[in-house]
């Protein structure tokens, strides 16, 4: 099998090359087939790989291809590492990737063929980079993929490059990622210096012997990278803007896969994090606060995609919380389930938008239940899943996270609970405003309302199923001992789930779970009353709601305290320092010479007398110097 692993990333790359170079010559159908076909192929391959890794006594496998850099004592091989974690991610990426490709074939119909091809090329390239990221056996290869996905998200956010807002969003995304990447890069250098290598195996092997401060520093730097990629405070603002891209892109990149790269990275280097409690706490705190903040903002958003975007941010926050409290499995678990239902939700939203002719404001929707039955049903499942209603996928992963949080500290737990309650609230607000009540849009919109084609509904159904059953791979010990297939599966990489989980008495767990669930149900019913059939519309202007609607004014804040000053500073350098001072100095020398030339000319008076006088004076000076000064 190993000798074929390279095909998994290569196939999407080939698809990218074909679609990219021959976009003007391929037929639309062919483009779609190639685009999705390569992905399906690598999905199949990934299945094989996964199936291999599930085998008993499976050993982590390194496949080295060639030396990327080998000079000056720096040796960086291009090599892949196959283990449970990467296998799982392979599966998620290729699987959901394929679904979204299929979905896109229909969703992007109204694009002209070359752009259609361009879209798929980008998408393939993205998958390629993502696969590189998870397959790499050292941090540099990971970094290559890391920046690659950043590039693709840049390209895809700015896919409709005619619109400058989109371009700005794209730029914002890339630059913010770059800030994180710098942290990543420095971490890489530090590891190189500390361990003399950046291969996972060696680094983790030597990590234990390294001084704790070093590990802490490295892990914090790595986490900064994760902040950028996974949209955590303070670098999260790019993700909502990134919704400028086509909806499937949002589903794939900005919900299911790319944004989870940060979680993958930390989970991958869990060994180091476990050695650095400080950075763990940092991760946890950042995670939970992000989750909370994003959730609050999501409460008041009216753009269907914005809501989902903020919910994504908040969910990512929860995942980091999990990682922070050391429940790596839970984090990865939530990544998986979240991938399912968030992709589902986005695609559903896409279907709605498709039906509404690119109308995204939920205030102009409503009562779509009848018009879009499948979408509605699947969307509902998604909502239930994300809200954590058993037995949907979200419930299990979230519950696991919260339990872990509780063990760490009740505060984290409480905040987590608040987050999930708010989650339920805004998700169902979204649901009700969209599907229930009566239609609030224009007439010809209403007239054109239609259920999406099969190519779009099929992925919805599949994902709905997954969001339904996806969680069952991680039945908590509470229900059945050793039913947590995922953790046992991942244990070789992430270690056995922390034993403290069993310190909580089952009764307590039951109680908490019950309370949480009741809260959530109450929230849902509350939203039903608010935004259900008798919804009159709301005003989101004054007071807290206004602040929330304006996202706590964070963007404005950043503009005021970072962007503007830097811009002014740059202007100052360009206009004053460079032009006036430095160049002025250089030209000043020339001017000085010319000036003194003009002055010296006056010595040349043309008068013999004065000439001779000067001669005499200098002779006298010479005499005095020669005779009396020495």
């Amino acid at each position: 099998m190993n000798k074929y692993v390279f095909l998994i990333p290569l196939l999407p790359f080939i698809g990218f090359v074909i679609n990219g170079l021959f976009r003007n010559y391929l037929s639309r159908a062919l483009v779609g087939i190639i685009g999705s076909g390569v992905l399906l192929a690598s999905f199949v391959l990934s299945l094989f790989v996964f199936q291999e890794t599930t085998a008993i006594g499976f050993q982590t496998q390194l496949i080295t291809y060639f030396d990327f850099i080998n000079a000056g004592g720096l040796k960086i091989p291009v090599s892949f590492q196959i283990d449970q974690l990467s296998a799982l991610f392979l599966l998620v990426i290729t699987g959901i990737g394929s679904l979204i490709h299929i979905y896109s074939t229909a969703y992007m119909q109204d694009e002209s063929t070359p752009h259609y091809a361009r879209y798929f090329a980008y998408l393939n390239l993205f998958v390629f980079s993502m696969l590189l990221l998870v397959l790499g056996s050292n941090f540099v290869v990971m970094f290559v993929g890391w920046e690659g996905v950043g590039l693709c998200s840049y390209l895809l956010i700015g896919y409709w490059f005619g619109n400058n807002n989109y371009n700005n969003a794209a730029k914002k995304a890339f630059v913010m990622n770059r800030i994180g990447d710098l942290g990543f890069l420095l971490a890489v250098f530090w590891m190189l210096q500390q361990f003399g290598s950046i291969t996972y195996a060696e680094v983790f092997a030597k990590a234990a012997s390294a001084p704790v401060p070093v590990i802490t520093g490295i892990t914090i730097l790595l986490f900064i990278g994760a902040m950028g990629k996974s949209a955590q405070i303070p670098l999260y603002t790019w993700l909502p803007d990134a919704m400028a891209g086509p909806t499937p892109v949002s589903a794939l990149i900005h919900a299911a896969t790319m944004v989870t790269a940060g979680i993958y990275m930390i989970a991958r280097s869990n060994v180091m994090y476990s050695l650095a409690p400080i950075s763990q706490n940092l991760v946890a705190i950042i995670g939970i606060s992000t989750a909370l903040l994003a959730a609050t903002i999501a409460l008041k958003q009216n753009d269907i995609k914005k809501v989902l975007a903020y919910s994504t941010v908040s969910q990512l926050g929860l995942m980091f919380l999990a990682l922070g409290v050391g429940a790596y499995t839970a984090g990865v678990f939530h990544v998986m389930t979240h991938a399912f239902f968030k992709a589902l939700l986005f695609l559903g939203a896409g279907s709605v938008i498709h039906a509404m002719h690119h109308e995204q404001d939920i205030m102009n929707m409503g009562g779509l239940r009848k018009k879009l039955p499948i979408t509605h049903l699947t969307f509902l499942i998604g909502c239930l899943a994300i809200s954590g209603i058993p037995p949907f996928a979200g419930f299990f992963s979230k519950d696991e996270i919260l339990t872990a949080a509780l063990i760490k500290s009740p505060v984290l737990y409480a905040l987590g609970v608040m987050t999930s309650i708010m989650t339920a609230f805004y998700m169902f607000r979204l649901y009700f405003l969209t599907f229930s009540g009566k239609f609030r849009g224009t007439h010809e919109q209403e007239h054109h309302l239609h259920e999406s084609p099969f190519a779009m509904t099929f992925p919805l159904v599949v994902l709905a199923l997954l969001s339904f059953v996806g969680g069952w791979v991680g039945i908590p010990a509470l229900f059945a001992e050793d039913a947590h297939l995922l953790s046992t599966f991942l244990s070789p990489v992430l270690g056995t789930p922390s034993a403290e989980a069993h310190h909580l008495s089952h009764s307590l767990e039951w109680a908490l779970m019950g309370i949480l669930l009741s809260f959530i149900v109450v929230a849902i019913l509350f939203t039903r009353r608010l935004f259900g059939r008798e919804f009159k519309g709301e005003n989101t202007t004054e007071g807290l709601s206004g602040v929330l609607a304006n996202k706590w004014y964070v963007d404005e804040l950043y503009n005021a305290i970072i962007v503007k000053p830097l811009d002014v500073f740059a202007g100052f350098l360009a206009r004053v320092v460079d032009n006036k001072i430095i160049d002025g100095l250089v030209n000043g020398v020339g001017k000085a010479v010319q000036f003194s030339g003009r002055q010296m000319r006056f010595l040349q008076s043309g008068q013999v007398g004065s000439y001779i006088l000067i001669m005499m004076i200098s002779i006298i000076l010479f005499f005095i110097f020669q005779l009396f000064w020495k």
């Binding site: 007398g609 006088l613 004076i617 005499f623 005779l627």
Partner: protein, 171 residues
């Protein structure tokens, strides 16, 4: 005080006085005449130093030929009465000061200088035409000949400049 010494001081005084008059007399002709006086005084010094040859040459060449030439030119331009406009006052100042300074410096540097010159013809007679002639035409014949080039060029030069070529003046 022996005669020769008296003569020395007299000639010195005469030379310096006439020299000053050369500089300060406003009438060029007077300057010329005073200059001639200087030459006479200097010749006197030569004689005191028993350098007869030079004394004679000095009189003939300088006082005779050269000064007559000067006089001739001055007359030619009939400047005998016209008193030239004086230089600006500060220039005079500067001239006087720098001149004085130079003199001071030189004298200060050379004052403690031992060595002597015999006043009378008591000792060797190198100054006599015979001896000088010997040396000149034996050891110094080369410069003597070469100075002929000098004269030639001076002659040609004078001719070149003297010849009247074109009358129109370009300024």
């Amino acid at each position: 005080m022996p005669v020769s010494e008296i003569l020395f001081w007299f000639l010195t005084a005469l030379a310096l006085f006439s020299a000053l008059m050369v500089v300060f007399s406003s009438n060029p002709v007077h300057s010329v005449l005073w200059l001639i006086m200087v030459f006479f005084a200097i010749s006197g010094h030569y004689i005191l130093m028993n350098a007869q040859f030079l004394a004679i040459v000095n009189l003939i060449v300088y006082a005779g030929a050269i000064m007559v030439l000067f006089l001739f030119v001055i007359m030619l331009m009939n400047m005998n009465t016209e008193s030239e406009p004086q230089k600006s006052q500060w220039m005079k100042m500067a001239a006087a000061i720098s001149g004085g300074a130079l003199m001071l410096v030189m004298i200060a540097a050379l004052k403690d200088n031992v060595g002597a010159v015999s006043k009378t013809s008591g000792e060797g007679s190198i100054g006599l035409i015979k001896n000088l002639g010997n040396v000149l035409f034996t050891e110094y014949v080369v410069p003597f000949e070469i100075s002929s080039i000098l004269f030639l060029s001076a002659m040609v030069g004078a001719v070149v400049l003297g010849k009247k070529e074109s009358s129109k003046i370009v300024s």
